[in-house]
Symmetry: C2
């Protein structure tokens, strides 16, 4: 962390005290600024009175990520996003992925938003703990992951099997999540070893991408317990 700015008119609160204490004990520059300066510098809609400037993210290569998934006592899993464009959804998926034990996330650098301030905020800290891999395209990344002996499981409402019936959930795995509107692109589907669905009911059966991703991570984590 390089610098923390706090809105000077902010009412005292335990969370602000904690931020001040952490910044002080860690030797991070702390400045109290006007509401105007805070909102001018903020790049999210609701800055909530605090801005922290951190070192830049250091992405992990796809090769290193694949090694991490296979290393250690039990196999890991990663989440691959294919054209998920809503930054709130990207951040929310990162938070859920981390909370269900994922090693990292694979993000395509075109056709979707990348790690913006809104993504970071929705991720609620997950970007500091999850390995982040940036790839030029999803389909190519899946080919590489399969070559590295990682199972690629696509999520799509039209998938022929229920995700829970997928036999490889406890193996080294990449879960592939498609865009909010159209699901997985045909080329991406064809690069998946398995395409699975989450069983839904009713007149409007559909989940948003973040919800589908969270449930898929939950199912994978349960299969490993």
């Amino acid at each position: 962390m390089r610098e923390v700015l706090i809105e000077e008119q902010r009412d005292p609160s335990p969370i602000l005290e904690e931020i001040v204490e952490l910044a002080t004990t860690s030797g991070v520059t702390l400045r109290f600024v006007s509401s105007q300066e805070l909102s001018e510098r903020s790049r999210t809609e609701v800055p909530q009175g605090v801005i922290a400037y951190a070192r830049g993210l250091e992405p992990t290569s796809l090769e290193d990520l694949a090694d991490m998934v296979k290393a250690g006592g039990s196999p890991g899993f990663v989440v691959v996003l294919d054209k998920v464009s809503d930054p709130h959804n990207i951040g929310a998926i990162m938070r859920s992925a981390l909370s269900f034990g994922a090693t990292g996330i694979v993000l395509p650098t075109h056709g979707a938003s990348c790690v913006t301030p809104t993504v970071a905020k929705a991720a609620a800290g997950a970007i500091e703990h999850l390995e982040i891999t940036l790839v030029p395209g999803t389909a190519g990344a899946l080919v590489e992951l399969r070559r590295a002996s990682i199972w690629t499981v696509g999520l799509d409402a039209s998938g022929p099997i229920d995700l829970e019936e997928c036999a490889v959930l406890a193996e080294p795995l990449a879960l592939v999540i498609g865009s909010e509107g159209r699901g997985l692109a045909p080329l991406v589907q064809s690069r998946c070893d398995v395409v699975a669905r989450i069983a839904l009911f009713g007149p409007l059966a559909s989940l948003n991408a973040a919800t589908a991703g969270a449930i898929a991570c939950y199912v994978v984590s349960k299969a490993r317990q």
Copy 2:
């Protein structure tokens, strides 16, 4: 539906054509308006070019909702929100609840936002299909639901059992979801028959309220298959 407004500068698209056709065949008044009029009338941040005025929602009484949960061939379930305040989360929970077969949702009318335009938009149509019950407070509603022989299952990170181990998931059920920051209030917890957790891992193990609600509905729907 009473009236549909469409932004006149909008580029043609299949979804707009479908809206125009549905409005025309259903005899709903259709007006093309300027961007300015549309954004003035809109009550969400990103109106996406279309506003529809519908008849008011007709809430279901708690007593009727309890009857519906117990009626029919297989027992139903409802979601009860306790101080969930983010309208995006409320809408997202409604969408997930419907997609996993819930009968309805119980919303307290104070201490949380109610069915606003932002809630309706995030619900992606679910408010038209889900029974909606408004109650003065969550704790009182849980007492009534228990009296009506409906199991009340609270979700809380500190819950003593894993939700999947809960023995009553296939019975008539009310899932109780707490606020984003603080989980379930102590009084509400004490009114639940069971308090259960979703198993999480890692340094930042936490889910947002909408994600926790979606996973809980998923687990209940799976227990009934």
